[in-house]
Symmetry: C2
């Protein structure tokens, strides 16, 4: 859980603030490293695009060996389908009974898209939405302990049967071991839970005469430990950029964090703190894991804590008597959770060796439904 | 601190989710009510545009009597200046020594814009940025107890003198009683603190031979109580839409909340909870004031708490044995804090009498710097 100083990235020269930037060498290394690991284990990698929301990044993931993309919303699916990604898994229990039915049908007719289910009603609404078109593949979601969505693993057979009866193709099962984020000590158990729950669910499907071809697990902290038989696929997202919470949970080193927000010191008027121009609308308000204080860390100021956020102000507390930066200094900020941060920035500066080499749009930004 | 059921708004028919909508009757009433109050007190109203980020809303505020707009970033100033708003106050201690210098100069040459200062360095950088152009008006920020930015009130004279020596026009002083948000019982004191600190700061400026023409206070909870001599101006923002936290802090009734997010129930698979498709990327993660649990409330389900948020999932806990909505139901969600929510939505549906009458862009969205 230690945060290391001394690995502070250099803020790109002349940048306006607040601006998010990515260190391209680190992004490429993160993509290559996890893909190499998955290849070694013989497990497919289907990265979650909700972290980067970027066609450029997705293309690098595909070139490196990803079998396709995971998306969290129909809007993300539409953006990546439009950019030529034709193998998508919407890892979400989409309700297709309303306005989303026609959108799903349009996508289904254009690309290969599989969708998550955790209820018979949801499955039947999906089936209705694509009626008259070809069969829609679905994956049964099971809860492996994160208590978000998904049925209990032993109930996967019953739901798979209902889905098949509704005219859907049951491709397999998936889960998200989100309880890994309870802290570093929870990760190994969460990965085991993913594997066991997928195993149980697969057996339940087989008991109904349905052979699951995909057993898909997914989260950055658990991606390595759960990449083992019978799991066939991993869906991590955050690994591409990483963040302070990934460091805290032990799934990467501080040198693997690839996204930062440049912020300017705008006030040193009050004792014991300084204020930066990155607030809640630039950093998001995700808490630090395991009770870690603050909303972000400042690699060059390891004793400082970004303690409060207003819309455009980040209040950074420093121990009494500690040095503080001066007004006008530009600092690198490492956010707690990178996914909502990316969603707040229209573009990311792309930096290699301290120089801005490109600016990438976050094309799927704000596609939250 | 009580939250009233029975005032649940009707979700507009056929809406995709998650979608933010505003009840136009309530927006208009909120604008008229506070303007009427300010007029009665003889205090100018300069609403903060960071809440709505909308030209349509700003036009209604101006038509109703607002003297101009408050903005929080240069980016917001650029959007509203481009839309014909020519009297802006950037209530922020802008650092103009970097990339923002040229942007500020461009704005200053196009419209009337005043800027906040809380340091001599900041003031000199502003002066350098507009050198050779006409004089830039500034307001000295003082801390009235919120411990964000601003000098101590008695130091306003010294800073005003430095700003004048640097060639700036010192228009007056401003403060933000953000400590009102500590809870309903803190509001009256925070308003008194605003008035007293502005009074002290004004006296300190006069002692330096500078007559402050503007004494500006600002926050929705304190706007009514601090609208009294010697305060000349109020800068509330949130009042235009309101939110759950404004209800909790006692600055509005639940019937005055004008912005909601429509969300669909996507899972009821686990006991004691249901899941909606509005997560952190649709609702933001601002905590409830005064320890109120959850990230949002559901007016039609008063016992339910939006307890956890993932990017696209809102986990709503319900007491054991309570009824739950069904998968596919569309619900109205009242966010804790409306400002970051607006920043997450490209457009807002505009609803009157239960019917969608328009769709407004949030033109200044993502202009966080």
């Amino acid at each position: 859980m230690e945060e290391l100083p001394g690995l502070a990235p250099t803020v790109p020269e002349g940048v306006d603030t607040p601006t998010a930037w990515i260190e391209l060498d680190r992004v490429e290394a993160n993509i290559a490293r996890l893909q190499g690991f998955a290849d070694e284990r013989g497990v497919a990698l289907r990265p979650h695009a909700k972290t980067h929301k970027s066609v450029e990044v997705a293309q690098r993931q595909r070139t490196t060996g990803a079998v396709g993309l995971t998306v969290g919303t129909l809007g993300e699916a539409e953006v990546f389908a439009g950019a030529g990604f034709d193998d998508l898994f919407l890892a979400y229990t989409l309700w297709a009974g309303g306005a989303k039915g026609a959108r799903l049908r349009g996508l289904h007719e254009a690309v290969r898209i599989a969708v998550g289910i955790d209820s018979g009603e949801g499955a039947r609404a999906l089936s209705d939405a694509v009626r008259g078109s070809r069969t829609l593949p679905v994956l049964v979601e099971v809860d492996s302990g994160g208590r978000r969505t998904g049925v209990q693993p032993q109930r996967a057979g019953e739901l798979g049967r209902a889905a098949q009866d509704a005219g859907l193709e049951v491709l397999g099962v998936f889960t998200h071991g989100g309880h890994a984020y309870r802290g570093a000590e929870a990760v190994a158990d969460a990965a085991d839970d993913e594997v066991r729950s997928l195993e149980t669910a697969a057996a339940a499907l087989r008991a109904e005469g349905i052979e699951p071809r995909v057993l898909s697990a997914g989260s950055t902290p658990t991606a390595r430990s759960s990449a083992r038989a019978p799991v066939t696929e991993e869906r991590p997202g955050t690994y591409v950029y990483n963040d302070r919470n990934q460091v805290l949970v032990g799934s990467c080193g501080v040198e693997d964090v690839a996204l930062f927000v440049a912020a300017t010191v705008v006030s040193v008027s009050l004792d014991g703190q300084f204020v930066i121009d990155a607030g809640a609308k630039a950093l998001a308000r995700d808490p630090g894991l395991g009770g870690a204080p603050g909303y972000a860390s400042l690699p060059a100021w390891p004793d400082a804590v970004v303690e409060r956020l207003n819309d455009y102000h980040g209040m950074v507390s420093v121990p009494a008597g500690s040095p503080r930066p001066r007004v006008g200094e530009v600092l690198a900020v490492m956010p707690n959770h990178v996914c909502p941060v990316v969603d707040l920035h229209e573009t990311l500066l792309v930096v290699r060796d301290g120089r801005v080499v490109d600016r990438w749009r976050t094309e799927a930004r704000s596609r939250s439904g």
